[in-house]
Symmetry: C2
Subunit: 256 residues, 2 copies
């Protein structure tokens, strides 16, 4: 069965008490992330790349804001990938991606990523299938380089909103004045190709599964944030982060 | 037999008439390169990455100056790689390389390259062998990305000077005041490890041979330049470069 269908996102009904409980838990999780990030920064042997993919209005911005609020801005960067510029188009598709990968000690968030360079060309038919097939391999090679070559931990999240929930969110953007700025005609065009997107995503999950994709039920933001925060914390725990020992010729005798 | 030993660089004796003939030919070859580069720039479907490797004083700067003199500076960039900075060290070793790869229409010259990241760590024993082995694979994957992902033509040149010729050139740098600026104590240290360098180069030629390495006899500069220019021209010829047709709505009727 497809990974996406397994994600439980079809209902918004929930227990109010549960919601409050999860939201309280999220506050604690975020505090732990803040602490872990500080340790990763001083440790200097690890770095974290967070990839957020998802359909329009799936809450990628919100996930970044909520899960990483409180992290020292010195230790985190966010890059949102748009349609490539002329200059970017004049290079291989990973050129602009590589420029923004995290350096040691840092968290880097990608709001959309190199996976767009498979999604859009496949759905719009910009390239031959055999050419796109090569991109899957290039991506796998590239992610391997980051992992082996700089000890990067890559966490890939697909934020899955149901088609009904997307309709509700896009509609708000043309009905609520405070949300007008989020509206984009193109989102409604893309929505028509929903099934095609799902099918390409399934291929991506299958062919680029090292490291694996996390499919996050995202109709309820507090649930989405809870899933993501827990996965981030697990990754931090596996890094075995340490505050480094004192590195000093002057104070060697302290034995620190 | 090793590729390097096969390169005929052991004698500086030559026919003066031959030298004049080759130098006159070089002028013509360089002019052809200038013309081809102009066409590649306007064509916009190809780009060229030139990699120069070689021991100290093997004439990498000179090769760049002589073979590409006259090329419109708009269409060519040169990047010399030094010891990585702290910021570069905080990324995978190909991070700084990827930033400087050519965009469509351009020639990019690398004076030293990602191959230094195999040479130096192997000889100095900075990493485990198994880790360096991964770098060979990362380099092959990366070069494949440039070729498949942006239609880059990669020409790899090893400029081979004999050990005797290097001694002569390094000695000039401590005896001729106009050449003092080229002197570096470290070159004499590296020279002691000549055989180790040759053996790592042999491994590089073998493991990273797609695209292949060109071993250029470089004791005589005019001979070196002649070899390089011919290989560059051959690469241009294989690109099948064209000045593009007129792209105009206004002047469509001209049928250009």
């Amino acid at each position: 069965m497809s990974k996406i269908i397994l994600a439980n996102t079809t209902t918004k009904t929930y227990d109010r008490a549960l919601k409050e409980k999860i939201k309280a838990e999220n506050v604690k999780l975020v505090n732990q992330i803040v602490e872990f990030q500080r340790r990763m920064y001083s440790d200097g042997r690890h770095n974290l790349l967070i990839i957020f993919q998802g359909m329009d209005a799936s809450g990628k911005d919100g996930a970044t804001r909520k899960v990483f609020s409180g992290v020292n801005p010195l230790g985190i960067k966010v890059h949102a990938y748009k349609k490539p510029t002329d200059k970017e188009f004049a290079h291989d598709f990973l050129w602009r991606i590589h420029q923004n990968v995290p350096q040691q000690g840092m968290i880097q968030v990608f709001n959309r990523s190199h996976y767009e360079d498979i999604l859009v060309p496949t759905i719009e038919g910009y390239f031959e299938e055999s050419y796109i097939e090569k991109r899957y391999q290039h991506i796998n090679d590239f992610e391997k380089l980051l992992i082996e070559g700089n000890n990067t931990t890559i966490l890939k999240f697909y934020l899955h909103t149901s088609k009904e929930e997307q309709l509700e969110r896009l509609t708000e953007r043309i009905e609520i004045p405070e949300k007008y700025w989020k509206h984009n005609d193109k989102d409604w065009e893309t929505r028509k190709k929903w099934d095609s997107y799902m099918s390409v995503y399934e291929q991506i999950f299958e062919k680029c599964n090292q490291p694996e994709w996390h499919i996050i039920p995202s109709d309820r933001n507090w649930e989405k944030e809870n899933h993501i925060a827990k996965i981030v914390l697990k990754a931090f725990e596996e890094m075995d982060l340490k505050y480094p020992a004192l590195d000093s010729e002057l104070f060697k005798e302290k034995g620190m």
